[in-house]
Symmetry: D2
Subunit: 99 residues, 4 copies
């Protein structure tokens, strides 16, 4: 299981990107994978192949509408129980309270 | 005003990073800047210089404890009202509902 | 055809990473895809699926030796003739000479 | 001394970015810092403050021409002799030959 944050930037397609992000979020939701939308990207949890298939589908959906697309993917791969989108944040907050 | 997401990775310092993230979050909180902790990074909003000063302080705090540190910073700079950490997410969700 | 730059960081595995990078470079070379090693990552050119298969193989080779791995992938996808690893740099240098 | 790779992406400003990259490369050259232009970014070596001043100048030069700019910065901070832009690549190639 990996955590992956990705963001897809259409280049030369106007200043507002929320329409493209909305289309990607729809694809992520349909995958059924645990996910979270943030102001800077979308975080998805799953096996490498299923996460990468979702990111590819999002990238290609944007690419179909724009002549150039820049996509950034950051992966955190660690043997850990599922539910890390929440667990990682809670682990940090707990450490902060203990200090 | 910019939005910046950053993550700081100590290399060669063990597998668990939450202690380091907690220390960085404490520094971000003390800055008073709007921020959000996610599973993959910390998002901060502010002027370029104040945001970069916070990220430098976080980086140096981790670097003081580890011999090698990898830091990733992603910046979104756009003329827009403050409060973008929430506003960007809400704008996407709104687009999705309308579709 | 896409260009992808990737870097794979083992966490908790010591300060020097060149051994891991060397193993990844060997995998990239065996793929036969156009590539370039830089001080900050490896750039590969090819179709989405073949590039991603190489990056996955590199990630998994490092993950087999370390309990936690952070991987960053940046993709530039644009309809353009192959050979972009060189062509993009040359295009910039040409612009600079003309100025 | 740090190594930083950065890339600056104007959003909503057309598909070709080489003009913007050329302007940034001119700023980097004028800084006198060791640097390398790659197909996916620019690598700069120096102290944190001088490297960040160069990246800020590049970002602001592009931002002055575009209403939205996305900038990515990846930093590798390790106590090591200067000249790491070459030394890191050579260290990997040496490891590969020995294997």
């Amino acid at each position: 299981m990996i955590l992956a944050e990705f963001s897809i930037t259409p280049i030369g397609a106007g200043e507002s990107l929320s329409e493209y992000v909305a289309e990607c979020l729809r694809i992520v939701r349909e995958s059924g994978l645990p996910h979270e939308l943030t102001a800077m990207g979308t975080i998805v949890e799953g096996e490498w192949d299923e996460v990468m298939a979702v990111i590819k589908a999002c990238h290609m959906a944007v690419r179909a509408k724009c002549r150039r697309v820049s996509t950034l993917i950051k992966i955190d791969d660690r043997e850990a129980p599922p539910g890390r989108i929440r667990a990682k944040v809670e682990s940090v907050l707990k450490k902060l309270e203990q200090a």
